[in-house]
């Protein structure tokens, strides 16, 4: 009994020493506070994991992570607690775009640089940098790719149906704008654009109706995320419409999550345009620039990939910049978030 007690005490003391050593070494680490939106989708989970992987202790960081569960007040509280903890940098993925000026001023007064990722802040510019996706570029990419693909296939008339995302979301606005720009330039017909709210059920119901309203009149369906594309596929199956690289309808999707890429490989989705959730490496780049006393760019756009099969891998350009379609293989699906 006594032996056990002694052994227990020894373990406890060693553990205590170890913790002491840890906190001592924590002083050398760069401390970062990250106020994440929540955990509503696979995409969001990938974004969180990316930050936890990059800002790990092995890489010389001490990350305080707060999941704000889509509560905007909780998010501002989280940022204030980071100020109290005197962290070195604060990362925010703002739940809403407004009401940030007071909190960001507090950060500025405390001398803590703020980096905004993914969503935007509209009513304040007291942050050093915003890192995120350029949704309009994604839309432009889809349009320019379609033009190149249609030329390669000898299709000279494009009649497109769009199943858009939640109306007013930045992803919906950007993707619609980008694709519309190319459609206007090339004189394509966009027969209809209805929202599927980024859900599979929404995509299914909208496509079910499209299939009847525009029977035989369309050859392109654009879904603004993979879930909508899954729904549209079921609806087209039930309407006896063939789609994908070998079908009558070209199916374009956005997001390029694992399940989406599997459908690209299964010759269902013709091309999938990525929305990269892995912001952390780009944020780390910004932090390194700050540490070296350099001024980072105010807007940092992440590198994104466009996916298809060999058949769809046609080269195209966005504003003169050459683009490349990545051919989906098992390894790529494995590596995708």
């Amino acid at each position: 009994m006594k032996m056990k007690l002694v052994a227990g005490l020894t373990i406890a003391m060693t553990a205590g020493l170890f913790v002491g050593a840890m906190t001592a070494s924590a002083d050398d680490l760069v401390s970062i506070g990250f106020a994440q939106v929540g955990h509503e989708s696979d995409w969001r989970t990938a974004s969180t994991k990316s930050c936890q992987d990059v800002f790990s202790e092995e890489n010389g960081y001490n990350l305080s992570f707060v999941d704000c569960d889509n509560d905007e007040a909780a998010q501002k509280e989280a940022v204030r607690s980071f100020i109290e903890q005197e962290v070195d940098y604060i990362i925010i993925d703002p739940i809403i775009a407004t009401g940030w000026d007071t909190v960001l001023t507090e950060c500025e007064d405390a001398g803590i640089p703020v980096i905004v990722i993914d969503r935007t802040i509209d009513d304040s510019d007291k942050y050093v940098s915003w890192v995120g996706s350029n949704f309009k570029t994604e839309g432009l990419a889809a349009g320019e790719w379609l033009k190149a693909y249609a030329e390669a296939k000898g299709i000279d008339e494009i009649n497109a149906l769009v199943i858009s995302g939640s109306t007013g979301s930045s992803a919906q606005i950007g993707r619609s704008e980008g694709f519309q720009e190319i459609a206007d330039r090339e004189g394509w017909t966009i027969l209809d654009e209805q929202t599927g709210d980024f859900t599979e059920a929404g995509g299914q119901e909208v496509m079910e109706s499209y299939a009847k309203s525009y029977e035989g009149k369309y050859n392109v369906v654009v879904c603004q995320n993979d879930n909508e594309a899954f729904g549209a596929m079921t609806a087209m199956d039930n309407a006896g419409v063939s789609y994908g690289p070998n079908g009558d309808v070209i199916l374009i999707s956005f997001d390029a999550c694992t399940a989406g890429l599997k459908d690209v490989q299964a010759e269902k989705i013709t091309a999938d345009f990525e929305c990269n959730p892995l912001a952390a490496p780009f944020v780390e780049e910004v932090i390194k620039q700050l540490q070296n006393g350099e001024e980072p760019e105010k807007e940092v756009f992440m590198v994104e990939h466009w996916y298809g099969l060999e058949d769809a891998a046609v080269p195209f350009e966005i504003d003169g910049e050459p683009q490349e379609v990545t051919v989906v293989t098992d390894e790529i699906i494995e590596a995708q978030y």
């Binding site: 989970t45 209805q194 599979e200 109706s209 009847k212 039930n238």
Partner: protein
Amino acid sequence: MKKKSVFSRLSSSNLLLPIISLILVMAVNIIFDIASGNNPFSFFMITMQNTTSNGMVLYGRIIDILNRGSEAAILAIGMTLVVSSSAGTDISVGSVMSLCASFCCMLLAGYGVSSTNDLAVPLVIGVLAGILMGVVCGAFNGTLVAVFEIQPMVATLILYSAARAIGLLLCNDLIVYVRNDSFAFFGSFLGPIPTPIIITAICVIIMTVVLRKTALGMYIQSVGINRRASRISGLNSTKIIFLTYVVCGMFAGIAGIVNASRITSADSNNIGLYLEMDAILAVALGGNSLGGGRFNLAGSIIGAYTIQAITTTLYALGVSTTQAPVFKAIIVILIVSIQSEPVKAYMKKRRAVKAV
């Protein structure tokens, strides 16, 4: 002569106005099709369509209305009984749908698995467990309303906010995909007919038989009209109110599984979202008083399909989905005011004057 008796039977059972509303909504499509130079009845055409994976199936807008309106119709059955017995609404049905779907998919996929093609447990167990979860939720609501006599809206507010969150917990905060053909059955086709239509028909038939062949329907109405008087005359009011909530929860479970099966996944955030409002509206459109008492099950079912007919019509007309709620509201205002007491009384008076 016979025609007139059908007409008078319809009007006396208060089904006339809900049916007229439904027909009016669909008639809009005839006008639209004539105006745009199509076949005037193209909205009503039902054809056979060769599908990629389900063989020949029935195909057309009317089938869409019956198919997509299934969940609201199934919910409306339970909601009608709840409204009748307790003079209140169960606002938790949409969230309970989501919870049941999540529970079912979580069992079928195995906890923590977010995507699978194989079932972890037999399909029957997953589906029955999902429905059972609905029964449990119904029993919880029923206990609060019948035993503790809490206002129905307050009592069901608890699961309204909590059930969806519990579903998310069960699914590890992810969308759980069960990409399995046997699970997809409940949302696809049985022969040429969409399975949800058949499931709804079975639910309606069973409920009608139970209400007609037993005294349950009468008991529910009598409790709804006067709870104390019913108790004094020997009815166990508490038990009957409790029972209606359990039935309502069970139907929410069935609707949840149909909805999850359509997309072969449990999208906890979106399954059944705002559907409790459609169910309540269906009851009201069916000519039922939300003050409890007498009810008309057929009216509620027609009400549910009327709501879907509005949605499908707006799709067919190509009205932008962002503006659709405005048109939906206008149509609902029209239907509800046609059925309101002052308008009915006015029409009666006019008819009486004409007769003189």
